[in-house]
């Protein structure tokens, strides 16, 4: 599940993607079901006579209250703050002025577009590296009669449970030219000349961090695709074998189309996780996302704008404007997934 959650901790949220699947049906049929429920409600004579059922309200109240007060209202509060500005100690409504500043004022826009570009590249690295490796590992793990598969599963998932702080620093030490672990390793395979301090060079730093993040999260696509592969019924595989489709051909023609929905879910969760990432960059490169802002992504940009850092004074309204942009980007991504990609992926019911 990512998730992350995201933020919702990425791990948290991503892990449960299997069920998110069901969410789609949920979305599409919500209206329909509600109508049906209401009709039934009205036609059942017992229902209309029933007194107000307090226990339903009591069961729902704590969750709805906490969720609304701490998540939904602040979310809209943040969107609203983006339309105000602090002038002479009071909040004044300025319409879209903050966004005009964000896009037009070179002090902001250069950083914003840089962060957005970096974030897109960060996401592309994940899609290009994480998904193929995840598919290969899952396909190998799910091969029949594989010994030690539980061991491999457990071991490959370990980086995913570690915090970004640990991962960021651990890799920073390993890649450090001072310590020499990375050059030593490259020396073993005769490639020592390739070594440079990757995290310290503008050209490589972001890509390196993207790969570190892939290293950390590979467990999630692996597990979800593994789950999807296990859910393919034996009859389908046996039918393929009867038709002489085996080995690689079987994988490309039979299994891959069947796991495409799982890959779709992983992609959208990666998207949401990447566009609100922060911790890894902050731990490895600090809030300034060095060298020279080359690893700045929207999360670190938001942190500096809103909370302030060193010489920069924090500005909650500009922070809110950036958060609003992140919200819109994520919303667009989720909508594209739900309405364009998800509806075109063919799903098979067994």
């Amino acid at each position: 599940m990512i998730l992350t959650l995201h933020g919702s901790g990425p791990v948290g949220v991503r892990g449960n993607v299997v069920r998110l699947d069901a969410m789609k049906a949920f979305y599409v049929h919500a209206e329909l079901d509600r109508d049906r429920a209401e009709t039934e409600h009205m036609t059942a004579p017992a229902a209309s006579k029933r007194p107000f059922r307090w226990h339903i309200a009591i069961f729902l109240a704590p969750a709805v209250l906490v969720y609304t007060a701490i998540m939904i209202l602040p979310l809209f509060g943040t969107l609203q703050l983006a339309l105000f500005r602090n002038i002479a100690q009071s909040q004044v409504f300025v319409g879209l002025d903050n966004f005009r500043t964000l896009f037009g004022d070179p002090n902001w826009s250069v950083n914003f577009w840089n962060a957005l570009r970096n974030n897109v590249w960060f996401f592309i690295i994940h899609m290009l590296v994480q998904n193929p490796i995840g598919v290969v590992l899952a396909a190998l793990l799910s091969s029949p009669k594989l010994h030690f598969s539980a061991f491999y599963r457990t071991a490959i998932f370990i980086p995913t449970i570690l915090s970004f702080v640990i991962v960021g620093f651990a890799w920073k030490l390993i890649l450090s030219p001072l310590w020499g672990v990375a050059p030593n390793l490259l020396d073993l395979i005769g490639l020592k000349s390739l070594f440079t301090p990757w995290l310290g060079k503008e050209d490589y730093a972001l890509t390196t961090l993207g790969l570190i993040s892939v290293w950390q999260f590979i467990g999630i696509p692996m597990m979800l695709i593994y789950a999807a592969l296990l859910s393919i019924p034996d009859e389908v595989i046996e039918a393929a074998e009867c038709d002489g489709v085996t080995g690689m051909a079987q994988f490309w023609k039979i299994k891959l189309p069947l796991i495409l929905p799982a890959i779709g879910i992983i992609s959208i969760l990666t998207f949401v996780g990447n566009f609100n990432a922060f911790d890894l960059i902050y731990s490895a490169q600090g809030a300034l996302a060095g060298p020279n802002y080359s690893t700045d992504i929207l999360g670190t940009f938001l942190y500096r704008a809103f909370f302030g850092f060193q010489l920069q004074v924090g500005d909650p309204n500009m922070g809110a404007a950036i958060a609003t942009m992140m919200f819109l980007i994520i919303l667009v991504g989720v909508c594209i997934y739900l309405f364009l990609i998800q509806t075109r992926l063919r799903r098979y019911q067994f």
Binding site: G9, I56, V165
Partner: protein
């Protein structure tokens, strides 16, 4: 599955690839932990070797325990994680029970509303959350973190538990009703024990992001008394960046508890992820 596809070279190749990736996954963790037990000279001279009797040194751990207040940080993380987990599970299960058990006007809409938080990260609301916490005087308290993490964990918990609860047999609940049990008793005595496996899955998924989060402790509770272990380790390492023994020891101290918990619960976690498939 069929046995026809299994051949010796194929399975040897599979093992080779998986083993290679396992090494890639574990190597960084391994190298950090073994070096944390070595003296400063050995760390630099032979970084790849495990500690020997000559190079064994706990100076890093002594520095960490003397300088950083890690026990306090652990305690904070523990309180925040356990309390948030308790509220997420309790409130989430209650809401899931209401959604799965009763037909009422707006049922689906409520489910949809609570599910929104799965896709939209709570982090985007940070600006207004900080204002809220400042206004209510909760900045630099563990309560602030517990509230935020409870809200963060609820959407997914409700979503998963609703699915599981709709699988609990109606006959059982109706038998309870005929025996005169209240709806509350039915929920706490009959339904909750039956969905315990699902609760464990939700617990693991909720726990890891809370324990590992850096963003909210950094913004809502950065004071010395309320630092979590993730933030504490981050700041400690930032200060002692040139003291390699201390940094490695701090990293190891942050890795080990999570690692041990994971090894204990890995079966549960992995079953939770794959349970959509394995029937």
């Amino acid at each position: 599955m069929s046995k026809a596809t299994v051949s010796l070279p194929r399975s040897a190749a599979a093992h080779a690839v998986l083993l290679a990736y396992t090494v890639i996954a574990l190597f960084p963790v391994f190298i950090i932990v073994i070096n944390s037990f070595k003296s400063r000279n050995a760390i630099f001279r032979t970084p790849m070797a495990p500690p020997t009797t000559e190079t064994f040194d706990l100076v890093g751990y002594r520095t960490v325990l003397a300088q950083g207040d890690f026990l306090q940080y652990f305690q904070n993380s523990f309180i925040v994680t356990v309390a948030s987990l308790f509220f997420v599970l309790l409130f989430g299960a209650m809401a899931a029970f209401a959604l799965s058990e009763y037909r009422f006007r707006g049922n689906k809409l409520m489910g949809l509303y609570l599910a929104l938080g799965i896709m939209i990260p709570i982090r985007l609301a940070t600006v207004a959350i900080l204002q809220l916490m400042v206004a209510s005087g909760l900045v630099n308290t563990l309560t602030a973190l517990i509230l935020v993490y409870t809200a963060q964990g609820l959407p997914l918990a409700v979503f998963i538990l609703t699915e599981f609860m709709s699988g609990v047999s109606d006959d059982l609940k109706n038998a309870g009703r005929i025996d005169g049990l209240s709806e509350y008793t039915i929920f706490f005595r009959l339904v909750l024990p039956l969905v315990r496996p699902a609760m464990a899955t939700v617990a693991v998924f909720t726990m890891i992001p809370i324990w590992n989060d850096l963003w909210f402790p950094l913004i809502l509770a950065p004071s010395e008394g309320t630092k979590t272990v993730t933030l504490g380790a981050q700041m400690f390492i930032g200060q002692y960046v040139t003291n390699w023994n201390a940094v490695l020891a701090a990293l190891s101290l942050a890795i080990l508890p999570v690692l041990i918990l994971y090894l204990v619960f890995s079966r549960q976690l992995i079953r939770g992820i794959t349970s959509g498939a394995v029937k």
